[in-house]
Amino acid sequence: MKTISYIDYCALPRIQQIGYSIYSGFFKIIFGIGHFFKGLGLGIYHFILKIINGLADTGRCFKAGDVFTKLSFLFLGLGHFKRKQYAKGVIIFALEVLFIVFMVGFGGQALYNFITLGESRPAWFCKSDPNTFYLTQQEAINAGCLFPTQAAGRLDNSANMMLYGVVTIIVLVAFFIFYFKTVKGTYKLECDSYEGKHIKTFKEDIGDFLNSKFHITLLFLPVVGIIIFTIFPLIDTFLMAFTSYDYAHNFPLDVFEWVGFKNFSSLFNFGGTFGYTFISLFKWTIVWAILATFLNFILGILVATIINRKGIKFKKLWRTCLVLSVAIPQFVSLLAMSQFLNEYGPLTYYIEKWTGTKILFLSNYHIARVMIVTINIWIGIPYTVLSTTGILMNIPADLYESARIDGASPITMYFKITLRYIIFVMGPSLITTFIGNFNNFGVIYLLTGGGPKTGSYYNSQAGYTDLLVTWLYTLCTGNQPRYNLASVIGIAIFVVSATLSLIVYRNSSSFKNEEDFA
């Protein structure tokens, strides 16, 4: 890409400046994505290198170590025992035994089940004929059995098998890390004792957790929480995107299986209803996110500037009036609004009574979209006022002074000084807001529930005001949940948010400063 200096840029005519901005912005995005993949590739390369180096290191330890260290490769903790770290040795050995018991008694089978995801075995039978099994309840009913009974334990629960499989994989990875760390530690211990260094007692080891290893103490519980309640479910959900897990393929009705990239191909098949719904909702989500973010931002700053104007009294009163709406829970204010505005609500009724025309605020799709954006402005402006007031007060007054002397109008000053200054300070958080709006579940779900629904969307489950997230929610909880497709949508949302964040990160000052140093 050809870059031009700032002076050349200023000398260009206005049209060409815009053109250049678009052109360079486009390249920035391309470079951003390119850089991301380069970084990803490098990261993977370094990771593999690290593992190989670690293995080689361990090999060297094995070669150089004495009998006890060598035996420790089989019986973990033996080395520690030999160097009189009895308690530590016993704990480490117990962990190894636990791991082996876990793998033999549970893990092996779990891994096998993870690959097959269970078999669809006959699971329903008639009390009158307990030897004939049917795959599904419906089949049994069709075969003339009015009240089929489920055979206990005959049908596999694929969802649980997947969970067990993921748990086993996490345990395996954790144990391998633990194994190599311990083995290396054993060798280091041998070296230390050979050199006559002080070997820590168990008490000192424990004491370390309040000092040099204090980070482990503090991190332990929160990180375990994140692993169990974020990482583990995310891996599981991610895997669901590659299966046929939906309302029909769910325990106790049926098992589900791996289907590869089938769900993703139906996402990108824009001719099919699923792909069509995705692309339509995606467009609306983008439009919504842009409108919601920038309208709130610009109007919010405008209101904040007005309140903070010199010579205006009762500043606190005005601000409190706005902030009150932030203080009430959203589900109260939004649900109430949806009640006031909906088809049967008072507003429609009175307008019809007085003017004779019936306005459907939330059931006509054009009006509904406008209403949603408007109500979001009502919600959003107070937030912007709250967070920008401090920044506004920090704008140097002489900037306005000199602008006024130069004859700038208030509107020019607002755009050229106020807005620019705030964007300079709040730029990065603006993108967070954008992503937040992209995933703004509350406003849409509580106001319209995604409606008005339309038959042209997938399963008639989505509507004109649905965002991708609210659709994801409907896919999980609606009449006929399709967990696999919901997971695909989740991944798509992730890709969009990640790409956006990446572009911003590349353009943010911290990243540029790094480049300046290079």
Binding site: G225, I226, D236, I391, V425, T477
Partner: protein, 303 residues
């Protein structure tokens, strides 16, 4: 002289316009709140009646729906206390527990990431950043399956309740440590060093030096964590489902509006219930507003 006078006059006109604008804005922002209050005192109790008689005369205002909140039982035979009271207490208890655990988790993660230098710190931060880009409730199904599995393994049956909901709210809360980290970054490091020279270990520095200096961020974290369960609807509805004894206020009120049968009898109760929920939350928010703004802008400016 004349010019100054005309400028003053111009300013006066401008200010008048701005005052009118501000009054208008305030009315726009206050009206829905007043409307909620006004409807909650409406003598009617079904949606249709309230819509037709929205502007009822002030003399007919009644507190009967507030009284009803404290008497109405969803299933009169089995319920020990009125449904609304029960949901309220559920949410209060949940919010208090979640508040304590979340604050502990968030502060310890934030402090570690801000002050303690150790191997893998940056990796952990970037992993957390990536995790944050998945939509929050994408893994809801998996979490539900996991909780159910726990329950069956422990022999506790099939229904999930408030304890599970509390786990959902609190266990992974550590990942929202950024704002608190931004705060800890601004506490002068020389204080730690001085304490360390005096022989304090890392734990003592955290508990005795940094925490006492971090009142704003502690208050901010406590308040946001406390408000979470009052506001959340998504996880709550998915985890609790039809287990009405374990409803939170948000879920219960939502149900009053979205079941056809209850819409005809509990419509005004919804507004009365909403007012009673909003009052304490508003009070907490307005009392701690200063800290809230500090927390938000502190995080925003840092980016």
């Amino acid at each position: 002289m004349a010019r100054i006078k005309s400028m003053k006059k111009k300013q006066k006109i401008e200010n008048t316009i701005i005052y009118i604008l501000l009054v208008l804005l305030s009315i726009i922002w206050i009206i829905p709140i007043i409307a909620i209050l006004y409807v909650s005192l409406n003598p009617d109790s079904s949606q249709a009646a309230v819509s037709i008689r929205m502007f009822y005369p002030i003399s007919k205002m009644t507190f009967s729906h507030y009284v009803e909140l404290f008497t109405y039982k969803l299933s009169p035979k089995t319920d020990v206390m009125p449904s609304y009271v029960r949901w309220y207490l559920n949410t209060l208890g949940l919010a208090l527990c979640v508040m304590l655990i979340n604050t502990f988790f968030i502060l310890s993660l934030a402090y570690t990431m801000s002050r303690l230098k150790f191997k893998g710190r940056k990796t952990l931060m970037s992993i957390n950043l990536v995790l944050g880009m998945f939509p929050g409730f994408m893994s809801m199904i998996a979490i539900y399956n996991i909780l159910k599995l726990f329950n069956t393994l422990l022999g506790l049956g099939d229904t999930l309740g408030l304890v599970h909901l509390g786990l959902c709210y609190s266990m992974a809360s550590g990942s929202g440590f950024y704002i608190a980290k931004g705060f800890f970054d601004t506490v002068p490091k020389s204080l730690d060093e001085a304490a360390r020279i005096d022989g304090a270990n890392n734990a003592a520095v955290f508990f005795k030096i940094v925490l006492p200096l971090s009142k704003p961020i502690i208050v901010y974290t406590l308040v946001t964590a406390f408000m979470g369960p009052w506001m959340d609807y998504i996880f709550c509805s998915y985890v609790i489902r039809n287990n009405t004894d374990n409803f939170t206020v948000a879920l219960g009120l939502y149900q009053w509006l979205n079941t056809q049968e209850l819409k005809n009898t509990r419509y005004t109760d919804f507004f009365a219930g909403s007012v009673l929920v909003s009052i304490p939350i508003m009070a907490v928010f307005l009392a701690t507003q200063k800290y809230y703004v500090e927390g938000v802008t502190g995080g925003a400016v840092k980016g």
